[in-house]
Symmetry: C2
Subunit: 388 residues, 2 copies
């Protein structure tokens, strides 16, 4: 397999885009990414798109072809990948494999979701499709209720507190202030989170990532090509993915996501790195509890210590291991199909020293962690600047 690098990125602002359609969002991000890479459209050989539930959100399938069409890139092959909220992550991973195989030299990856075209109720139903509808949503468990079960289990087993979960939201909102692409660029306090209404106890409104419209795109290339066309490519050292049962009821444990653990173990093995070598991480904080689970499952902290770690500032910018410098899903926003690609963009910017006020100093290795549903899919990537 050949080495693969990111050579360009494009991102729309995340938020409620009443004035922009699905196709306008993906075109905006895609064109930016192509321009940023400094390649011509004609050099792009294939497209990998990620979208979770476009059929339910906008009544449109055939998203791969739509993206190629919007970018004027016909007749190159273009597909959509879906793995619920990890759709962007699996799109990037399969693009990576296609370049690594030698099939293509330069490929575009897009992630997109337009979630505000339907009612909150319909959006809730669509998002429930990330879990096991037959044993969960259809039986009355909303998607937030699934993570509430994980949160409750963690509280019971390790004494994690609602205030510790709130600290995740507070940190990520603080980071988002410095991210011009974020949905919520304002600080909140622990008290704000604690006073917000319960969505599914113990998770409150401000523990939850929002409904978001947005798109993200990156251009990737074989590292040989990347060195020729790009000033500062960022190499994807590993892209690993794992699965777990869709239904929470079939899991061995409710205080860890096995798919995360399997994927990161493979990523560490492939790179020869350890958790302590990672300088920053973008993790899947769809609900605050999931950032706590992730920082433990990725090996940054011992199991059960994630709540205390965020409370002590260990995951803040300038802390031991900065997590979600972008603002994370909580404050940057979570257009489900775009999230995995947007995480890669934050890593790309950080490793190029282009993250402005949220820059992690001397960052050498970055990690991204994208989860589908309540953990039935996890994708973990590790990146560094490409050595010339």
């Amino acid at each position: 397999m050949r080495s693969v690098s990111i050579i360009g990125a494009g991102l729309t602002t995340f938020g409620e885009h009443w004035e922009k359609s699905f196709r306008e969002l993906i075109a905006e991000a895609g064109i930016q990414a192509i321009q940023d890479a400094g390649v011509s459209g004609g050099q792009i050989e294939a497209i990998y798109g990620g979208a979770m539930a476009s059929g339910r959100f906008i009544g449109q399938e055939h998203i791969g072809a739509l993206i190629a069409d919007q970018l004027g890139l016909n007749p190159i092959p273009s597909v959509r990948l879906e793995a619920a909220c990890a759709s962007g992550g699996v799109a990037l991973r399969n693009a990576y494999l296609a370049v690594a195989s030698g099939m293509y030299d330069i490929v575009a990856v897009g992630g997109v979701e337009k979630m505000t075209e339907v009612s909150t109720e319909d959006a809730g139903f669509a998002l429930g499709g990330a879990g096991d509808q037959e044993t969960e949503l259809f039986m009355g468990a909303t998607f937030p209720a699934l993570y509430a079960l994980l949160a409750r289990a963690h509280m019971e087993e390790f004494g994690t507190t609602e205030e510790q979960m709130a600290a995740v939201a507070v940190k990520n909102h603080k980071n988002a202030v410095n991210n011009p692409f974020a949905q919520y660029r304002r600080e909140i306090t622990i008290e704000d989170v604690m006073k917000s209404g319960y969505v599914a106890s113990p998770l409150k409104l401000l523990d939850c990532s929002p409904i978001t419209d947005g798109a993200a795109a990156v251009i990737i290339a074989s590292s040989d090509v990347a060195k020729k066309v790009c000033e500062n490519p960022v190499e994807i050292l590993a892209s690993e993915q794992a699965s777990d049962s869709l239904a929470l009821s079939k899991r061995k444990s409710l205080t860890e996501l096995d798919a995360t653990k399997v994927a990161v173990k493979q990523a560490y093995e492939r790179t020869g790195l350890k958790a302590k070598d990672i300088d920053f991480a973008e993790v899947h904080d769809c609900f605050t509890i999931n950032e706590i689970l992730a920082t433990e499952d990725l090996g940054f902290f011992k199991k059960g210590e994630g709540g205390k770690a965020v409370e002590k500032g260990k995951t803040a910018l300038g802390g031991e291991i900065p997590v979600n410098t972008s603002g994370g899903l909580k404050a940057k926003g979570h257009p489900v199909g775009a999230t995995g690609v947007a995480q890669a963009i934050e890593a790309y910017w950080q490793l190029r020293g282009a993250a402005d006020k949220r820059q992690v100093k001397d960052a050498e290795y970055g990690l991204t962690h994208n989860v589908g549903g309540s953990g039935a899919t996890a994708v973990v990537n590790i990146y560094r600047r490409l050595e010339k």
Copy 2:
């Protein structure tokens, strides 16, 4: 890139499976394929699933993880690919790339759709998502109406007749009689087709493929591994894909599908083969006109000659180039996400000499052709028995 071969296949019967769920169908096909390949579940390293509109048909996304879960194959990576009615074809192609890259040695590919859980109206809306909803379905053009436009253009330009289109249906029904997996195992006549009601003039009910439930699965492996574990592997010599504009209104021509032409050109270039070298083909006859377009665009007949060719029996079993020996989408059935994988299974069976009464004699090279929507995606594969 490494050579890749099919080493096992599993197929459910196609039809209205009131007694079987989406997840039961995929489990049935998947387990059959694993048994047929003679490998253990533990040897499978990744899963690529194809499904078009599971969100609309069964309210479930996250299909990759669902398949891994149903087959007891966690924690291996599993993704869903979507390219409308070419979802199965793109799933197989990306699995092929993942093995060709050296990332995996043995991978499972599944295609599935459960279309009968919703009303015909809702199914029509879901299928409309294969075209450009904004400029087509939302403006009143149903999905059959799009192919009706292509049919009308072909009739105008080349004098193709409704009887010639009917001959496609008659041939495919005849082939399906000998396919125990087919939805409609009964012969029909030209008169039957001509007397059936118009769905979208000039296309009549018996010009249209049906609403179908079903699943198909294959196990693929690097050819080195295939030689060791399998008696008669079938090599995938090429798997090529192309895209075109989603909306018919943006196409240069309505009498050809450019994506088919681009994909097959690449497939012929990669293999050094020509159309005349192909011994049989499974093509995407979602509507009878599309088989006529396909036999021309794939190079079997000159543009405009496809209607006459089928009328003269050139595409019948025993003819010049047997097309859709399985019964095709028309008579075998068209569970949209499964179709591309089921086509590969027919090629696999034909090349192993296992097609029983529909066997093409001395078949050396087979071709499959899977189309998404009204032609915005096309996937063309070429196969032969793996030389030992």
